[in-house]
């Protein structure tokens, strides 16, 4: 039982190898093995979470080398939340991918590799180890994006690879600067040593800058978000759901970990400029991401730009650096993963059932495919922040935190972001519920179009491919988005000791 943190990372890794080996014997064995590995992973994450919410974080020494020299795994409330989130979302998307996704064994092996990388990033307590897991996550994500058909997904994956590698390399350079300043890589040790070096030292400041910019690329904050729309739109539906729900989320978690565990709040207080840059990045992301989302025709691209805006909120909460905002950041990360993953899955479901992939194709969807339209509507409203959905709770805490900190420009933008989010979701909701299907109008393209968008998903519009598993997953996402909203305030209290420790 005490080896749980290590097993959390090992389970999907072993599963990935088993999928490959089993595939040599029987080509149909990929999904069951992946499902078992994912179930085991979820169990481990849940067991870990039960212990991690206690007064002290769970610490695990890897390979018998003690803390400052060896690699340490540390699980506190926030990391346990992320570990459970990764496991649950991966399990859910796996249920969807059985009928919808690419079915090859190579796909399932890469899928589990991505889960291993993400779990590793959530529990590691060593900055270089975090870089390695960041690259494992990245490599698996590039390969998964490329698992779609046609040249579009390959081009999207290459773009993602080039931009993502620059981000990860800057992260590595930042680690190098921190190592030069202190001579250690352990997060807990770094935080005391960096304080001893002094937060005004140029080495420490440069290290912070490089680490933050590197993670900004991975989170897809505005000026460095360019890989994201292409990658999400070019990937198969199950892959875009998994990546949109988890990869940027865990990168944002890494930013929380670096800012609060490694550099601490005192660094932000000493360097007001760093805090200003973080807040400015957040504001620009929220506004520009929303504006770009409104301008999109393809639904998956619109959802991708929406992520740019939503992660702006999380970065804003990190920059504000008080307990309320940080609680909001964690809740919004969980909520965004459920809602955005669910929205991508629903858009894939709608595309499989009706062939609709652009905003105009969604005209009159409520009549043609009412279940899909209903779920999409619920998730979209949850994203806008209609209570009692979880999207509301996250935004509420973040806005409250910004007000508490007296950061007025950010508070105004966060409150306004609800309207901005509504701006792009209202277009779709209006078309789905209040317009006639496009068949009887002359100006529009026919429903089942093989024009733009169909390249990403291959052969569209075959209602027989909509499986029970796909529908159940999508429905669960919508239910979770509401139920978690009700439970989130209690969760916020549960998180309190962890947040206090982060801010101490």
């Amino acid at each position: 039982m005490t080896d749980l943190p290590a097993l959390l990372v090992a389970a999907p890794l072993v599963g990935s190898v088993v999928v490959m080996l089993a595939g040599l014997v029987r080509s149909e064995s990929g999904w069951p093995v992946a499902a078992v590995a994912s179930l085991v992973q979820t169990g481990i994450a849940a067991a870990l979470a039960v212990r991690a919410f206690g007064p002290d974080p769970v610490r695990y020494v890897v390979g018998g080398f003690d803390a400052p020299f060896g690699i340490e795994l540390v699980v506190d409330g926030v990391s346990a939340t992320m570990a459970v989130l990764v496991a649950v979302v991966a399990l859910g998307v796996l249920g969807y991918a059985r009928a919808a996704g690419p079915r090859s064994n190579a796909f399932y092996a890469t899928y589990l590799l991505l889960v291993a990388g993400l779990s590793g990033m959530s529990v590691t307590g060593d900055v270089f180890n975090m870089y390695v897991f960041l690259e494992i996550t990245g490599l698996a994500a590039y390969a998964l994006v490329a698992s779609g058909e046609g040249g579009r997904s390959a081009r999207a994956a290459l773009k993602y690879l080039l931009v993502g590698t620059i981000g990860a390399s800057l992260f590595l350079l930042g680690i190098g600067f921190a190592y030069v300043a202190t001579g250690t890589l352990n997060m807990a040790d770094l935080s005391t040593q960096l304080a001893a070096v002094g937060y005004a030292s140029p080495l420490v400041q440069a290290s912070f800058g490089l680490l933050v910019v590197g993670l900004f690329v991975k989170i897809a904050v505005f000026p460095v978000h360019t890989w994201q729309p292409a990658a999400y739109a070019g990937a198969p539906d199950s892959v875009s759901a998994l990546i949109s729900a988890l990869v940027s989320t865990i990168a944002a978690y890494a930013l929380i970990r670096l800012v609060f565990t490694v550099f601490t709040v005192d660094f932000l207080l000493t360097n007001a400029f760093a805090q200003t840059v973080l807040i400015a990045g957040a504001i620009v992301s929220i506004v520009v991401g929303s504006v770009l989302a409104v301008a999109q025709q393809e639904v998956k691209r619109m959802l991708a730009y929406s992520s740019v805006s939503q992660f702006g909120l999380v970065v804003g909460a990190i920059a504000v650096a008080n307990g309320t905002a940080l609680t909001g950041a964690v809740i919004h990360l969980v909520g965004h993963a459920i809602m955005k993953g669910g929205l991508f899955l629903t858009s894939g479901l709608v595309a499989s059932a009706t062939g609709a992939r652009t905003v105009d194709d969604y005209r009159g969807l409520a009549e043609r495919f009412s279940a899909g339209a209903a779920v999409f509507g619920v998730l979209a409203l949850a994203m806008v922040g209609v209570p009692p959905a979880i999207g509301f709770v996250g935004k509420w805490y973040i806005a409250l935190g910004a007000v508490e900190a007296g950061s007025w420009p950010l508070a105004v933008v966060i409150l306004g972001s609800t309207l901005l989010t509504l701006a792009y979701f209202a277009r779709i909701i209006e078309r789905m519920f209040f317009r006639e299907p496009a068949t009887d109008t002359t100006t529009d393209t026919p429903l089942v179009t093989d024009g733009e968008g169909s390249e990403a998903g291959g052969s569209d519009a075959d209602p027989s491919v909509v499986s029970v598993g796909m529908q159940t997953t999508v429905l669960l996402a919508a239910v979770l988005a509401i139920v978690l909203g009700v439970a989130a305030f209690e969760y916020g209290q549960l998180l309190e000791p962890t947040i206090e420790r982060l801010l101490a």
Partner: protein, 118 residues
Amino acid sequence: MIEFFAARVYYLVSFLLLGVGTYMMIGSPNLVKKVIGMNVFQTGIFLFFIVIAFVEGASPPLLTAPAPYVSPLPHVLILTAIVVGVSLTAVALGLIVRIYDEYGTLNEEAIQKVVGDD
């Protein structure tokens, strides 16, 4: 001024490589050259790590050798980073093969013309 730079020539070279790599990735329309640019960029970072481990007149970190020792940790880190870099290059080249099969060219601008802005 000259001594200031001469004492830091290794750092200058590694950051020069970062610049060259970035320029190749942005400036060259050829996809393979973009990947080579990425490699140059990463090599700059590898060299930076190797330079920070250097200690004037130190011996390798063996118990039989006299002190002072060179720090072995950055070298170990860079071995890991090199493995990551090789894997990334492999994935990138695999993707480039697929792109070439699909479009028949490696020129980014030519592909852009065929598919429009995507």
